[in-house]
């Protein structure tokens, strides 16, 4: 877990505004330093406008820093010719599954990425089948995307990135438009890819519960990283999290109000602590 994959060096980004817009533009990112190691599961939290999506889009050279540098696998995103090479390493999944599916058949869509890379047809077939199996969509490979549920569509999008065999998957609020079932499907898929295939995951979200299982959580506010650590470290600092306009997970909140010393993350842990509080009698 020590190999550096993505490195932000003092990155600032300012969105270009209309000229008549006289208000001075606020930087979306303001001097961000961040290192993501190989195999890591990183969760980026923040309320709307905190710069978390901008951060995600910087990871694969879709946006170039106004100031500072983003280095992906040794390549700077500032160099024009690196763009394509970087996007071969870092795949991206967006919030709205409808706007990222290109083909009218599931398997054709998954094949889109490798086709663009010029992979051999038989190899594309193999990768597509493998990717669809990994996200548990193989049985639906001949379906039309508009007949799928949101969670299924989002898993197709993930398979599309997998088939490109990128080292990193960046997910920009992948569950924001999904129902609870779809959200669970997508989350467990992402975790499986991280654990079983060793793919580095950077997931932007504003659901605290989704950050609980990450290796590392960063909290962003006004374009800066304010908290950085394991979920337990971050959520133990309830006051700091709340000052960024976010909440800690419900279980954490409950237990801290009950006066439990340990930082509780999951419902299961909360149950254990509450049983302890009741003196072991339920």
């Amino acid at each position: 877990m020590s190999e550096k994959l993505i490195e932000f060096r003092n990155v600032t980004y300012i969105y270009e505004t209309d000229e008549e817009d006289e208000a001075p533009s606020v930087p979306a990112l303001d001097g961000v330093n961040l290192t993501v190691s190989k195999g890591e599961f990183l969760c980026v939290l923040g309320h709307n406008g905190s710069g978390k999506s901008t951060l995600a889009k910087m990871c694969n050279a879709i946006l170039e820093p106004t100031d500072g540098e983003v280095i992906v696998a040794g390549m700077s995103t500032k160099e024009e010719e690196n763009g394509d090479l970087i996007r071969r390493k870092v795949g991206m999944v967006f919030q709205n599954p409808d706007n990222q599916i290109v083909a009218t058949i599931v398997e054709d869509d998954v094949a889109f990425g490798p086709e663009n890379l010029g992979v051999e047809p038989s190899e594309i077939r193999r990768r597509v089948d493998e990717a669809l199996k990994a996200v548990n969509m193989y049985d639906l490979r001949l379906r039309q995307p508009h007949n799928l549920s949101g969670g299924q569509k989002q898993r197709v999008a993930i398979a599309g990135v997998l088939a490109m065999q990128t080292e990193v998957i960046v997910l920009d609020e992948p569950t924001a438009m999904l129902d609870p079932v779809g959200r669970q499907e997508v989350l467990s898929t992402i975790h499986k890819l991280n654990k079983e295939l060793g793919i580095t995951v950077i997931m932007v979200t504003h659901f605290m519960e989704e950050a609980v299982d990450a290796d590392r959580v960063i909290v962003m506010n006004a374009g800066r990283i304010v908290l950085d650590g394991t979920p337990r470290e971050v959520f133990s600092n309830t006051a700091a999290v709340k000052s960024c306009g976010l909440d800690v997970p419900q279980s954490t909140e409950l237990c801290s109000r009950l006066g439990v010393k340990r930082t509780v993350l999951t419902a299961q842990e909360a149950v254990e602590e509450i049983i302890k509080l009741c003196g072991g009698v339920v």
């Binding site: 879709i62 996007r87 990222q100 599916i101 290109v102 054709d108 663009n116 890379l117 001949l142 508009h146």
Partner: protein, 271 residues
């Protein structure tokens, strides 16, 4: 409701016709459609009809689906038939009233034209029933690829077609949603005259336009992320390969076309 339409009316199956190379299917459909017009006698037309029936049997598409494809054009068929009966004269006269004359030739022509239109529709819908829109655009891309000599970007055109097909159901859903939202705010979309109704659609189409642009922007983003840089250096997962069955189909169609001319020669022309 409207979101239930199927695009390109593809019928999922794994028949001989489904497995044929889409390029060959496209070419053969084109040939047949052209040569239906070469039929001059009932016998040559019957030959094409027989061939079409056999093709339907081989396609595993239920007859009901085929009939459904004819339904929208029934009025056109009846209309042309009536016109033909009235305006074509010749041969024995069966019925005469003022200037309207129904003759043997008129009836023959009417039947002939009706069968011809039905055949045209059935043959071409057989293509869309057994070929996915994706492989159809793929086939068109490959068949048109010689045009790139004239600097026509065939790949870009095909990609645009694929994306258009892909987004039809999405946009239909969107229209549905916007219409409901406007109705909830008291918009009257289903009452009033033609002008009032068209005016009422403006607040539906403006949001639709705006959201389409937003979608296009996001899609372009997503395609860039998946390393799309145009047609150059791209490979395809689904290779198209002509197999024995494609050549078999080709020879059958050539035989049918030859048959059309032989029968035209030996039997009396209807038109």
């Amino acid at each position: 409701m409207i979101s239930e339409i199927t695009i390109g009316q593809y019928y999922t199956g794994d028949s001989l016709l489904h497995r044929m190379d889409p390029r060959m299917k496209f070419d053969l459909t084109f040939l047949l459609v052209v040569f239906v017009f070469a039929c001059k006698s009932f016998f040559s037309l019957a030959l094409v009809a027989m061939f079409t029936l056999v093709a339907i049997l081989f396609s595993s598409v239920p007859l009901k689906m085929i009939l459904r494809s004819i339904k929208p054009i029934v009025i056109i068929i009846l209309f042309t038939a009536v016109l033909n009966i009235i305006y074509t004269t010749g041969g024995e006269t069966y019925f005469k009233w003022r200037s309207i004359e129904i003759t043997e030739k008129g009836i023959n022509t009417a039947i002939f034209m009706a069968v011809r239109i039905i055949l045209l529709v059935v043959i071409s819908s057989l293509l869309t029933y057994t070929t996915t829109p994706t492989s159809l655009t793929d086939a068109i891309e490959r068949l048109l690829s010689p045009l790139s000599v004239f600097h026509i970007k065939v790949h870009t055109l095909a990609m645009m077609m694929t994306l258009a097909l892909r987004f039809i159901p999405t946009l239909i859903e969107e229209i549905d949603r916007i219409m409901n939202a406007q109705k909830a705010r008291g918009a009257e979309l289903e009452t009033g005259g033609l002008i009032a109704r068209s005016k009422a659609l403006v607040p539906v189409f403006i949001p639709l336009m705006v959201s389409s642009f937003r979608r296009a922007y996001e899609l372009a983003f997503a395609m860039t992320c998946r390393c799309y840089t145009g047609g150059e250096g791209r490979t395809r997962m689904k290779q198209m390969k002509l197999r024995a069955r494609d050549f078999l189909a080709l020879f059958t169609v050539i035989a049918v076309i030859a048959g059309i001319f032989v029968l035209n020669h030996f039997f009396e022309a209807v038109i």
